[in-house]
């Protein structure tokens, strides 16, 4: 098979699918595009978001009751920016009405620019870098940002009244940025900070923890990494038992999965969390979300699913609103999104000029026994925080 025949087939395929989708649009069916990492080093988080997107589609279709129908066309970007761009372009050529997905600021950057070129709205919860919303893209939206995570972590640490904090962080893009943010915030508040940067391939954290224990002697330990890093750090801490009063992490930590799979290890550990676990239902949407998620995937929803769900739900609402007014385009959907104010699973969402959600502030949860309780901010708390308390 020569290159040309391959390309010809591709071209034929694209023409065919464009026709097919064109026909479908008249039957009030909208296809959303989703470019997410299902393989590569972001596979885990991408898959989580993807599940949330699927739940949003299922719930929306049920609610809309045949008036409109939504489908999602998903392409794995393999955690690679070039492939993410190609994925967006392919989805655009298939005639999707908007895009939901994306993980990693470095991948979302070029992908959302490609979306803008095709006049498609791109909404995500996977990229928290500040630069993303300073690119003058009218079609880019995100429901969370690093300030939201950082504010929550800082707020908790400040409320604890700790004097000295050891920050242990992975030298990846998002974790590195977050660590800098937390470090500066703490210093401004007059808290003494030491930092320990580690490589993503590190598995034995005893050396770092020993420095925290013998040299830093800090009141609190802040971890900024991913699940495998947390497990490694917590295991090292459990063995070495530094005299800290609290150990705090960010994403991927105060989750039901960590609570069940690493139960003893994570006791009293804090992490960002939107909902307590088991979910204490507040409002119909959360109840239904949780039920649908369990039905579809046979497990408790986690934060990735929640974010994926919320971003997609908002997008669907905007598409429906635009359709009801007569025209679905990048411009109209963006307009709808910008004018919307919603109370969602992750709190109030309203987008500013840049497509950012300034309302976004995370909550901090704490593993307490079989539960993850929300302990910060006070007004959202479902339980008192155990402090001082560590897993060991």
């Amino acid at each position: 098979m020569t290159l040309n025949t391959i390309l010809r087939r591709v071209a034929a395929g694209i023409v065919f699918s464009a026709v097919a989708y064109g026909g479908a649009a008249q039957a009030e069916t909208f296809t959303l595009g989703s470019q997410v990492p299902l393989t590569g080093n972001l596979a885990r988080v991408g898959t989580g978001m993807h599940e949330g997107i699927s739940v949003a589609i299922a719930m929306a279709n049920k609610e809309l009751g045949g008036k409109h129908e939504f489908k999602v066309s998903t392409i794995d970007d393999e955690s690679n920016p070039a492939k993410a761009v190609a994925a967006v372009e392919k989805l655009a050529s298939e005639g999707v009405v908007a895009l939901t997905g994306g993980y990693g600021s470095n991948i979302i950057g070029p992908a959302s620019e490609a979306a803008a070129k095709s006049d498609l709205v791109y909404i995500t919860s996977g990229g928290v870098a500040p630069e993303l919303t300073h690119r003058d893209l009218d079609t880019f939206f995100r429901i969370n940002n690093s300030e939201g995570y950082g504010k929550a972590m800082l707020g908790l640490l400040k409320d604890m009244g700790v004097k000295k904090v050891s920050v242990i962080y992975s030298n990846k893009e998002a974790t590195d940025a977050m660590a800098k943010y937390v470090e500066e915030g703490l210093k401004e508040a007059g808290v003494e900070v030491t930092t320990h940067e580690f490589d993503a391939s590190t598995t034995d954290f005893k050396s770092i923890m020993n420095k925290v224990k013998l040299r830093d002697r800090s009141d609190a330990i802040a971890m900024i990494g991913y699940e495998n890093d947390y497990v490694g750090i917590l295991r090292a801490a459990s063995v070495l038992k530094p005299e800290a009063k609290a150990i705090v992490g960010v994403w991927s930590l105060a989750t039901s999965q960590m609570n069940t799979e690493f139960h003893d290890l994570v006791q009293n550990v804090y992490g960002t969390s939107l909902l307590p676990y088991p979910v204490k239902f507040s409002g119909d949407e959360a109840v239904e979300f949780s039920a649908t998620y369990k039905e579809m995937f046979g497990k408790e929803p986690d934060y990735l699913g929640q974010f994926g769900y919320v971003q997609t739900r908002l997008l669907i609402d905007a598409v429906v609103a635009a359709a009801d007014k007569g025209e679905v385009s990048g411009k109209t959907v963006a307009q709808e999104l910008r004018s919307l104010k919603a109370d969602t699973l992750i709190g109030d969402v309203a987008f500013d000029e840049n497509g950012d959600n300034p309302n976004f502030s995370h909550r901090m949860g704490q593993h307490q026994g079989d539960r993850v309780e929300i302990v910060w901010p006070e007004k959202a708390a479902t339980a008192k925080m155990n402090f001082p308390a560590v897993p060991w």
């Binding site: 080093n41 490589d199 598995t203 034995d204 699940e227 063995v239 038992k241 003893d264």
Partner: protein, 291 residues
């Protein structure tokens, strides 16, 4: 300061015992066949996942899962051996590309079978602290598998020197043609080196599963570490593997303690290149690197 150093050396030592187990499997095959099995790390990882599956499905203790893992890893290793045997031309380099391909296949098979989630044992005992004199800290699993590592490396050493199979293997390793003249069937010896390598991979994989967390992308890094140690040791030196592994382990923990933890990987790579350039025969072995 003193306490930090002591703990760094201790942690490095324990890591070294485990590294030695991983590396010896690679070094053994390398010694007999002059082939670097780039899928070795994936074999280690495969054992870890088999232990995980046994624990998840049947509630089996990871130690008890070793026989099952051994069968799976052993058969996979023999398949690798069989495929290498089919290379016709320039075996030394082509086997590198072949096993590289096999490593990619295994990584993706693991990913598709067990997903990208992180996995670790939930048997609490492995993670409990083992403290010596209030100054040296580790987890039970680390001490256990350090012991297992030293015992296995020692056992392999004994086996190579005191059994006929072992001697045959050494004979093939030092001079294939001469060994053939002595009536040794090199094909069988090579297959045997793969089996022994699989045993080592299995135990080290289970150790990994109990002491750390596993995820599909881990295998490649393990192979590289094992190769670094093999070069450090020099060809045909079993004690060299153990010592090389400890040097790497301690070098890493010392870097993490006294420089920056993020430079830990760099230490290994720099030691590796220095040995290659300055002392290509390794620290202890026969010459492994031709001009």
């Amino acid at each position: 300061m003193f306490e930090l150093t002591l703990q760094a050396v201790y942690s490095g030592l324990l890591a070294g015992g485990w590294y030695a187990m991983v590396a010896l499997g690679l070094a053994l095959v390398f010694g007999t066949m002059r082939i670097i099995n780039l899928a070795h790390g994936e074999l280690v990882l495969l054992a870890a996942y088999v232990a995980f599956e046994m624990e998840r499905s049947f509630g089996l203790n990871p130690i008890a899962a070793i026989p099952v893992a051994l069968v799976v890893v052993g058969l996979t290793a023999l398949l690798v051996y069989f495929l290498i045997g089919r290379i016709r031309h320039d075996r030394e380099l082509n086997s590198l590309i072949l096993t590289f391909g096999i490593a990619i296949v295994l990584t993706n098979v693991i990913l598709m079978t067990w997903s990208a989630d992180i996995r670790s044992t939930s048997v609490g005992w492995f993670m409990d602290g083992a403290v010596i004199a209030d100054t040296l800290f580790s987890m039970n699993s680390e001490v256990l598998f350090f012991g297992a590592g030293v015992a296995l490396v020692g056992g392999t050493y004994w086996w190579l020197n005191h059994t006929w199979h072992g001697r045959a293997l050494r004979a093939v390793s030092s001079n294939r043609n001469a060994a053939m003249l002595m009536g040794v069937n090199p094909a069988r010896v090579e297959a045997m080196s793969f089996v022994v390598s699989a045993v080592l991979a299995t135990v080290s994989g289970v150790a990994l599963y109990t002491a750390s967390v596993v995820f599909p992308a881990l295998g490649h890094g393990l192979t590289i570490k094992a190769f670094v140690i093999t070069v450090l040791a020099g060809l045909g030196s079993v004690p060299g593997v153990l010592l090389g592994a400890v040097i790497l382990g301690v070098g890493e923990t010392m870097t993490a303690t006294f420089a920056k933890p993020s430079l830990q990987e760099l230490t290994g790579m720099v030691i590796f290149l220095l040995i290659l350039f300055l002392r290509p025969s390794g620290l202890f072995g026969r010459k492994v690197v031709g001009k």
